[in-house]
Symmetry: C2
Subunit: 123 residues, 2 copies
């Protein structure tokens, strides 16, 4: 990790620490109203859709471990491993663009396969 | 991206540019004999197992676009979107540890779901 977080990394880390602490409302304060997020299942546009996407995710979260985090003035890249109720080991990565202290664009990578397997087992 | 790539990022980028140019043997020169790679399907240990994992991946690759790349002295984090024969849009992220110019540890995140869907459709 960089020793002095860049402007974008400060926001990305504040967002990360909020949602992984399950403080979802605090996390949402870092999200732009017009966010565009490319997630594994497709593009999510606007803060309401983003809230509907991330809310359930935060509810199943049980632990999180930051692997690496870097950034520059307007871009940050983080990787973490989270533990959730259905999937115990779920690595993920996010690349965010930050403008005026808010995340305006986000690309979110994680493996949906174990989540789908858990869902299929449950039904 | 950092303006002056850090030592670890230089190696991570050289590795990335080699494998995405489908120069697999060049790419493998950046991999430590004792590599430990945590991939979506599990842990891969040693260069022979890594070769068996990455080789088929490189064969199905048709295009690659680097999204972001950062690093410090011994860690680098990259995100990219690749296009493959079965899956046209496949984002991925890698966090690597570099020692003496070689990647010794790697954590590799991508979504297996579309690859599994393509496989199921093909059979």
């Amino acid at each position: 990790m960089t020793e002095k977080p860049s402007p974008a990394l400060q926001v990305a880390l504040a967002y990360y620490h909020a949602w992984t602490a399950k403080d979802f409302e605090q996390a949402m304060t870092y999200i732009s109203a017009d966010i565009v997020c490319d997630a594994p299942a497709g593009r999510i546009t606007g803060i309401d859709a983003y809230r509907a996407f991330m809310g359930p995710f935060v509810q199943i979260l049980t632990d999180a471990d930051l692997i690496a985090a870097f950034g520059d003035d307007d871009t940050a890249l983080v990787m973490y491993v989270i533990e959730t109720i259905p999937v115990k080991h779920a690595p993920g990565a996010e690349c965010v663009t930050v403008k005026d202290g808010k995340i305006t664009d986000s690309r979110f990578v994680f493996d949906r396969a174990p989540f789908e397997a858990a869902r299929n087992q449950a039904t």
